[in-house]
């Protein structure tokens, strides 16, 4: 064969191959497409184990779907008809029965439960896993501590299938804290086999491998590119999921994620700009579910230790100067819950988040600022995290413009994502935008972290108030002992005080937005705001 002939025929082969795909492949593809969910998001996990050092939020999603907890939450109907976790109702997951006593809770494990390698789940594994959570340090230990779960001695193996948690003290957050992502049950023998002297908890192994009893297992993970999860057919934690395979692809460009959805190639995506969600919603080709962050607020924080924000009048003036509605309209495209403008005289609710009584009122703001001794205003900087620039940047510009009207000249300080937390934790930024949301949806939980005088890192304002601490401590004690009247009084007390002193101005409650194809159903909103694959169905 001559060279030219060869080239010709090779070209012809390539051309026919490109035009007509063999039909066998097409049917196989269609079938696997039917049982596969293709999820696209901006970023992927850096660690498959939530106990790992510095596991990022996408990593939580893997943990949630690949591991079981003793208990989980029932579902209820959410604000716009979506399935929404019921914070008050628990259902057994690995446990088949939970018995809460005065100072302990006893769990009977499901006898049929096995880990993904076939070994049965025993109380020993449960103890080892919870011991690990309170011992490894960092975020998991911190989260366990939020429910007064701090010492390995609290976790007791009664027999192979019976397990007891002893309470350190009465705390109504202990049981809910057992249903968050952190207290996941790990195959202790498998992990111990892969542990080393330097790494007694086997964190290096679980970073790359899932070792749980959950509904899915990670079959392949290419960091920054994709995660592939396969269903565990032996799962006993709940009804067998309908989706056999999850392909989770990282698509950094938001425009392409949207194009993939609109073309019908991707099944689900979140992390799109609000503008895209609004446009997709009005186009009507996709299902868009928007849910307010449970127990989460975007706020404008002020450093109350230093002048001028040490003066409550200055802070109130700022609260009157913020263009709340403009932010919701122009920045969020309406996808946010207003947190301002409570009607004057309306009663404070026993709830959180709830709106405060401030409105955009430049005259009032000017008057307050003059009373505070700054009739000509002052200069300051307004900082925000560039990692969330789509929301933060326009919000900062609107606030800058508005504060300018009352004489406060602000310079905008954009801090790169990798550096924002460091800067924030120094607690020296005078004025900044930030979000806080708590997994446990209780008002006192939010206030312990954000307003209490013990000055946790979420009290970014360094706010100190004896009265505030008394209200918060009172509410925690009352909740533990079931004293409803005192609890309600104290919750109203701390909410009113937070709005009077205004160390941080709540701007809005952000929405968690998810876009999916019309034939995808079963989306559930969870406190962690990540996807639960177990309920997803593709028609």
């Amino acid at each position: 064969m001559k060279r030219r002939d060869f080239l010709k025929s090779a070209g012809a082969v390539a051309a026919t191959a490109a035009v007509s795909a063999p039909s066998v492949i097409d049917t196989a593809k269609a079938q696997s497409r039917q049982e596969t969910m293709l999820i696209v998001s901006e970023s992927g996990p850096n660690n498959l184990d939530i106990h790992g050092v510095g596991t990022n939020v996408p990593g939580y999603e893997v943990s949630w779907n690949c591991y079981d907890r003793l208990i989980s939450h029932e579902m209820k109907t959410g604000p716009s008809g979506q399935a929404y976790y019921d914070k008050d109702k628990f259902k057994p997951e690995l446990a088949e029965d939970m018995n809460v006593g005065d100072m302990s809770a006893t769990f009977k494990l499901k006898k049929k439960a096995t880990f993904q390698d076939g070994t049965p789940v025993t109380a020993k594994d449960v103890k080892w896993s919870l011991d690990r959570a309170v011992s490894v340090g960092g975020f998991p230990t911190f989260q366990m501590g939020a429910g007064s779960l701090t010492k390995p001695e609290q976790f007791v193996v009664v027999d192979d299938h019976t397990f007891r948690v002893d309470f350190a003290r009465k705390d109504r957050l202990t049981i809910p804290d057992l249903a968050v992502i952190v207290p996941c049950i790990i195959n202790s023998e498998l992990v111990k086999k892969n542990a080393t002297e330097k790494d007694p908890w086997g964190l290096e192994y679980t970073k790359q491998n899932t070792a749980g009893s959950g509904a899915y297992k990670v079959s392949s993970w290419v960091a920054g590119t994709e995660v592939i999860l396969e269903r565990n057919d032996a799962w006993v934690g709940g009804p067998l999921p309908k989706t056999k395979k999850i392909i989770w692809r990282m698509v950094p460009s938001a425009g392409n994620r949207r194009a993939l959805l609109e073309r019908g190639d991707a099944d689900i995506s979140y992390e799109l700009p609000n503008k895209d969600f609004v446009e997709l919603k009005s186009a009507g080709k996709l299902n868009i579910v928007s849910t307010p962050f449970s127990n989460g607020i975007q706020y404008l924080g002020m450093n109350v230790k230093n002048a001028p924000f040490d003066n409550p009048k200055v802070r109130q003036a700022v609260a009157y100067a913020v263009p709340y509605q403009k932010i919701i309209d122009a920045v969020l495209y309406g996808l946010g819950q207003p947190m301002y403008g409570k009607a004057p005289g309306a009663a404070t609710q026993v709830a959180w988040p709830q709106p405060h009584q401030y409105n955009t009122d430049i005259e009032k703001a000017k008057k307050l600022l003059a009373e505070a001794g700054y009739p000509n205003g002052f200069e300051t900087t307004l900082s925000f995290d560039l990692g969330f620039a789509t929301i933060n940047e326009p919000t900062a510009v609107l606030i800058q413009e508005s504060l300018g009207q009352i004489g406060i000249k602000t310079t905008i300080n954009k801090i790169p994502g990798s550096n924002f937390r460091t800067e924030l934790n120094k607690k020296v930024l005078p004025l900044y935008l930030n979000v806080f949301s708590g997994w446990l949806d209780y008002p006192e939980y939010f206030f312990i972290w954000c307003y209490h005088g013990k000055n946790s890192i979420f009290n970014t304002m360094s706010y100190q108030s004896k009265d505030m601490d008394a209200f918060i401590d009172g509410a925690v004690t009352a909740a533990a002992s079931g004293d409803k009247a005192t609890y309600e009084k104290d919750v109203k007390g701390f909410v009113d005080l937070a709005f009077a002193d205004m160390p941080r101005v709540p701007l809005f409650q952000p929405y968690s937005n998810v876009a999916m194809q019309k034939n995808v159903s079963g989306y559930q909103y969870w406190f962690h705001r990540r996807l639960d694959y177990r309920a997803l169905v593709k028609a």
Partner: protein, 336 residues
């Protein structure tokens, strides 16, 4: 061979310099990796704990010492963002970037070189103007814009192109790994569906890079052809009655190739770096997007690994081009 050895010894001080500079530069970056990886709920103690476990509490010189000794053993460290060893990541990702870049470059050569030659031969004609317009337009459009535009037209509106989801269709499995270049591997193993899928996926990002790199190649070809065409030996060749095809291809182009090859080397190395944005747009699992991601989260090890790899590539490329000179034009001697 002796020449190569001599060149190799010259490379070593270069690389030492690169190692020191990248190490110092990454440490000089703002941002505290310990605080970043401690997560939002970290206390001061847990940040310190992480700092210690990352070895970031030690003095710089000690950190540098341990970095170099690890490097000598071929260990580039672990990435904190992806959680995997940097060396494995680079090994897996470099072929993806290289395949894309080479594909784009070859596409570009195939278009730009004939265009440049024609423009030079028919100077001032409509071809010359087309060449000028195409080159100017290509180089003045930012790559991410061209990329997004192509995706919008060919994927979103026309639906001709597959979803911009990396190197293969989501439901296709990669060919058996031989070179890491999917096109070559699938051809070697006769895996036609993988070949088709990867070629389809390559087209748009390759075209994006091609458009961007047309200008330097086309312009350089044209300029260097013009110089050669004006020289006396061409006039002699023409006067001797050789047909114009022989004159242009055999005599003129061969002599005009030298500067073109130099340009190609430059274009290739800047494409390798510049395709960061293309990789972002097409969710391409390459080395550029890896490095940027690492940079954003002040993850030192991958950044150092990336710069080192690029430096080695660059040096190797220069060497290759120098050697090519000798092949193209035996008069070029490397001692100079």
């Amino acid at each position: 061979m002796a020449i190569m050895l001599k060149r190799m010894t010259l490379i070593i001080p270069n690389l030492i310099g690169v190692i020191i500079v990248t190490f110092l530069l990454t440490r000089a970056l703002p941002g505290d990796p310990a605080a970043y990886f401690a997560g939002p709920a970290a206390t001061k103690e847990s940040v310190e704990q992480i700092r210690k476990s990352l070895g970031l509490d030690k003095p710089l010189i000690v950190q540098f010492g341990s970095y170099v000794s690890e490097l000598a053993r071929g260990n580039l460290g672990n990435s904190l963002t992806t959680g995997k060893p940097v060396l494995t990541e680079i090994k897996n990702r470099l072929p993806a970037s290289a395949e894309l870049t080479l594909f784009g470059l070859i596409l570009s050569i195939v278009i730009a070189v004939p265009l440049g030659i024609l423009a030079a031969v028919k100077q001032g004609s409509w071809i010359d103007h087309t060449c000028r317009i195409v080159a100017t337009a290509g180089v003045s459009l930012p790559v991410f814009f061209t990329g997004l535009l192509l995706v919008y037209v060919f994927y979103y509106i026309l639906g001709w192109s597959p979803a911009p989801l990396g190197r293969l269709d989501v439901f296709a499995s990669p060919p058996t790994q031989i070179t890491g270049f999917y096109l070559i591997d699938s051809l070697l193993t006769g895996n036609w569906s993988a070949f088709r899928s990867s070629l389809n996926q390559l087209l748009l990002p390759g075209l994006t890079l091609c458009i961007f790199s047309l200008a330097p190649i086309a312009r350089m070809t044209r300029a260097s052809m013009l110089t050669v065409l004006a020289s006396e030996f061409i006039r002699t060749a023409r006067a001797s009655g050789l047909d114009s095809r022989t004159v242009i291809i055999t005599y003129a182009f061969r002599n005009a190739m030298l500067p073109v090859v130099t340009t190609l080397g430059m274009v290739f190395s800047f494409l390798l770096g510049a395709n960061v944005l293309v990789e972002k747009v097409f969710a391409w699992p390459g080395i550029g997007s890896y490095a940027v991601e690492a940079l954003i989260s002040s993850d030192f090890a991958p950044v150092q690994g990336f710069v080192l790899t690029m430096a080695i590539l660059y040096v190797a490329l220069n060497l290759l081009i120098d050697l090519l000179y000798g092949v193209i034009d035996p008069r070029v001697r490397l001692e100079a």
